[in-house]
Subunit: 408 residues, 2 copies
């Protein structure tokens, strides 16, 4: 069976208009790492003084570029910085070769961009366990600086794609003390994530001036309620990376701006949701809202148990308001629950209340909600004030086709 390549039915109508961010330039190239006839390397060059924050996969088998990148976050420099990404090969589980490739790429990028190697942040995404042909990447690096372009962010979003069916972008304009700063971000990923050919990578840029430690603290905090609240298939990549760069080129200090924080969170959430909307085989976008839990951690445990249940995800693919499976997921999650206090809704339709099917339950109303593209599952535990919201997609034949059929 051929690989599924059509665009996700949940994709936005078009790539959004992203603003130019002063202080960052983009360039892309077709290095032929694995793919032919498309770009697969992207460079983002950042001006001196840019604050860079990041969060990374917690996998114990994380890839060499992730370990290198992580170790460089936190430093401040009055010199420039560069972000270099290749698609087609993840340079993961490649032993000592992996470190050699990272060294080769970061050295070449440092020379080409005239920045210290300690300020070159590199990511690789694609097949794992194969040595990265890094000479193909370094071969295009010499020319990249001459192609740098302030308008190049959409091309960058395309160059980092692997099994993605659409490029992902998001932006915000923020009023800070009466002046305007901008945020623009791109992401790739279409599983949570297939280590074979997918990984979530996110790059967000802003011209605001933000103190590095404060930027890191915002990014770490918001990751918990955005990227760490999505799941496609419960599988976590060896390479997931998020980098946020504040160039400061606007001269506007947003370190303590509530509006900036809200906008950054919103851009992160929007990109996270786009990753789910490009979930492998997805036909439905699902929001799971848990309230009334003993605490927030319990609420998230319940929400993730629902979001990762193959039985719930297949029921939603089948447009079946199968609330019994929601009861099951809550029961198995390990977090506190009292069967006789549970309430469950699909959209606005209350299906279960106080531990049994609601007397007002209408199968027709619930089924109508399930036929939509955006599904909401609400659960109230009736125990306390803990809450959480997570996002996922359905589990369909498309997922099986993408992950079982095409390589065999």
């Amino acid at each position: 069976m051929a690989k599924v390549t059509s665009v996700s039915p949940l994709a936005p109508a078009k790539f959004p208009d992203l603003p130019v961010i002063d202080g960052v330039l983009f360039a892309t190239a077709a290095a032929g790492v694995k793919y032919q006839g498309r770009t697969d390397v992207m460079l983002a060059q950042l001006i001196p003084g840019t604050a860079i924050a990041g969060t990374f996969t917690k996998s114990t088998t994380r890839a060499a570029p992730v370990l290198d990148c992580q170790s460089k976050i936190g430093g401040i420099s009055d010199q420039g910085a560069a972000i270099l990404v290749n698609s087609g090969n993840a340079n993961a589980f490649t032993g000592r070769n992996g470190v050699v490739s990272v060294e080769a790429i970061t050295s070449a990028a440092a020379t080409a961009c005239n920045v210290p190697k300690s300020r070159v942040f590199t990511s690789s995404t694609g097949v794992i366990g194969e040595p990265l042909p890094h000479e193909r990447v370094t071969a295009v690096l010499g020319d990249l600086p001459s192609k740098l372009d302030a308008q190049g962010i959409e091309a960058a979003a395309n160059a980092i794609m692997t099994t993605d069916t659409f490029p992902k972008g998001s932006a915000a304009y923020v009023n800070v003390d009466g002046k305007s700063v901008r945020i623009a971000g791109i992401a790739k990923g279409s599983g949570m994530i297939a280590p074979d050919m997918a990984t979530m990578l996110v790059y967000i840029f802003t011209d605001a001036l933000v103190e590095q430690s404060e930027l890191q603290s915002m990014v770490s905090q918001y990751t918990e309620t955005t990227f760490n609240c999505i799941t496609v298939d419960s599988d976590t990549s060896t390479s997931d990376s998020l980098i946020v760069a504040a160039t400061g080129a606007s001269g506007i200090d947003a370190t303590n701006s509530h509006a900036f924080k809200t906008a950054l969170h919103d851009v992160m959430l929007n990109l996270a949701q786009q990753v789910v909307q490009d979930g492998e085989g997805a036909t439905k976008f699902i929001e799971i809202v848990v309230s009334g839990a003993a605490n927030d951690a319990d609420a998230k445990t319940h929400a993730m148990a629902i979001a990762n249940s193959p039985l719930i995800k297949t029921a939603i693919a089948g447009q079946d308001p199968n609330w019994g499976r929601v009861v099951m997921a809550i029961g198995k999650s390990g977090a506190a629950a009292d069967r006789d206090l549970l309430s469950i809704r699909f959209g606005d339709c209350i299906v279960a209340k106080d531990g049994w099917r609601s007397p007002d339950y209408s199968e027709d109303a619930a089924a109508a909600h399930m036929r939509g593209q955006n599904i909401i599952i609400g659960v109230d535990l009736g125990l306390g004030t803990g809450s959480a919201t997570v996002w996922t997609c359905d589990l369909t034949h498309g997922y099986i086709e993408i992950n079982a059929d095409y390589r065999s």
Copy 2:
């Protein structure tokens, strides 16, 4: 699309010859709880003095009959006992009605079998959230004692099936101090488990004399390495129940017999593996053997992360020796691992060693193993002496069909 009903390709050629167990008689009936044209109620009557042990789902939303049954385990009685099971309706998440149904059924069974209500152990399996029409069960109870038969265990295995594609049985003959005792067990279940229409129920009988507290301790211990080491889809039922009854009719005391313990463990393991072999949509039986972990708990965490990974299960369905996904699962499991000490094998084919693809790796050899019906994934962490073995099946279009397509 029609519901998938053909017999699992992993099913045994035939139902095994199970020995008669002195002290237990079986009867079945067609009560029409939900299914038509088949039996759906089974009764096992046990002689006075039978020791009964059990383990049950840890779900916080467990069903009314589970709660009732659990509360009765442990007592010893010089009166008889009865096990009564219906299929077609799980009497789960049915609020106060659930308790009323359990009360009605256990009272009627106690009267019919002339045993105390405290010695009637009942289970229900099937759809959840629907009130159990218990009057259909009690209506057939009066006649059941007249049909009791020492040879009725295969009929019992059939009566408790829901989405199962074959009845499951297993037996052992054990030499205890030169004398022979027998063990015979039956199980149902074909997901781990779909709360909609499946649940794992297991009933094991022996004519050995075993002290109840020791029997409970064996059952609790062996559950950890048998039924708690299988997974079809990571979803846990609201009703899973295992009951072991030692009638003592042989007069042979096996309380301290090592051979008996081994045989009981083997029967439990065999039944557990049959449940996986009837996993929804399964075409491959997968054994995952983890060694060299920091401790046994870590080994099981890694093994279950592999067994529950949709990406690994789909890769196996596609006969793809995708060891990169095994690296991913180990990385995400949360248990200790050092990427550079990892070794992975498929069958006898070493695919990765010391943190990278093995120099001797043969894609052809690995692919040949993946084309078989019994797949072995071996992982050595290189950290310590912890080990675990778990069993699962692949994730196929059949699973999606069974769980998404047929009800919508």
